[in-house]
């Protein structure tokens, strides 16, 4: 096995997904190749750090069930108090946060986004700014609906939501920046539109939760 082959197989080796024969070959190679062993050591260090990170980016697993559990008729900080922040932060729901990561909504508590929002946008299309504007309008409408709800979340819940939305907002800004440099990148275009769609998903769910307080 060459170093290049070892490099190609390093992920699967460390993940434990290499077939037995290749695993043995990899072990042999690593035993006699200090540079590749160093790469293995670094990868394991990266993974150890990644595993140690808080799972704050996965609402479905940590945040949202917690939110739902903690919201038991508590009426503390008024919901409208965090709206200015969320207006900015709610620019997106992360690339890393698929709608399937979140609790499935029940019947819609608020109007769905305009039908046009589900239309796919071609990479480099002039329609993208217009689609983004449509999403912004839908977001504003949802936040307005939210501000009209008399319910409230606990400050702890608000902080968690706000933190996640900020991370999401940052992710959207990165995609926009990447798209600016590579406007014909279909994957990035898809990510941008999907992120907007998921943002609305989350906002609809927050509105729905607010109605249950």
């Amino acid at each position: 096995m060459t170093c290049a082959e070892a490099e190609d197989r390093l992920d699967d080796y460390v993940d434990g997904s290499l077939p037995e024969a290749e695993f043995q070959e990899m072990e042999l190679h690593l035993a006699g190749c200090p540079p590749c062993r160093e790469q293995e050591r670094r990868l394991r260090a990266v993974l150890a750090q990644a595993t140690a990170l808080p799972k704050a980016l996965s609402p479905a697993r940590d945040l949202w069930p917690g939110i739902a559990g903690r919201i038991e008729g508590q009426r503390r900080a008024p919901l409208r108090g965090w709206l200015p922040i969320s207006l900015a932060a709610a620019a997106a729901v992360a690339i890393a946060l698929g709608s399937t990561l979140l609790p499935r909504p029940g019947p819609p508590a608020v109007p769905p986004p305009p039908p046009g929002l589900s239309v796919a946008v071609s990479p480099g299309s002039d329609a993208l700014p217009e689609v983004e504007a449509d999403y912004a309008r839908a977001t504003t409408a949802l936040l307005a609906a939210l501000s009209e709800r008399p319910s409230s979340f606990s400050s702890e819940t608000l902080a968690s939501v706000q933190k996640n939305l900020e991370v999401i907002d940052e992710a959207l800004a990165e995609v926009r920046e990447a798209l600016r440099k590579d406007p014909n990148n279909g994957e990035l275009t898809h990510m941008l539109v999907a992120t907007h769609r998921k943002k609305l998903d989350v906002l609809r769910r927050v509105v729905k939760l607010s109605t249950q307080l």
Binding site: L43, A50, L57, S58, I95, E174, V175, E187, H190
Partner: protein, 53 residues
């Protein structure tokens, strides 16, 4: 991690931080499974390099 390209970062976070499988990530992000693997490899390689600097 903040310095990773957006696509690679998203896959890295979902796979190595959150523990999702490539099949799930592909469905979530609308990618081919092979693309998810390639993005993960890219992210890990960049992070390995950063670790060595």
């Amino acid at each position: 991690m903040a310095g990773l390209p957006p696509g690679a970062r998203a896959v890295f976070v979902l796979h190595d931080v959150e523990g999702y499988r490539h099949q799930e990530i592909a469905a979530l992000l609308g990618l081919a499974e092979g693309t998810s693997k390639a993005q993960l490899h890219r992210a890990r390689k960049l992070l390995r390099e950063a670790l060595g600097e």
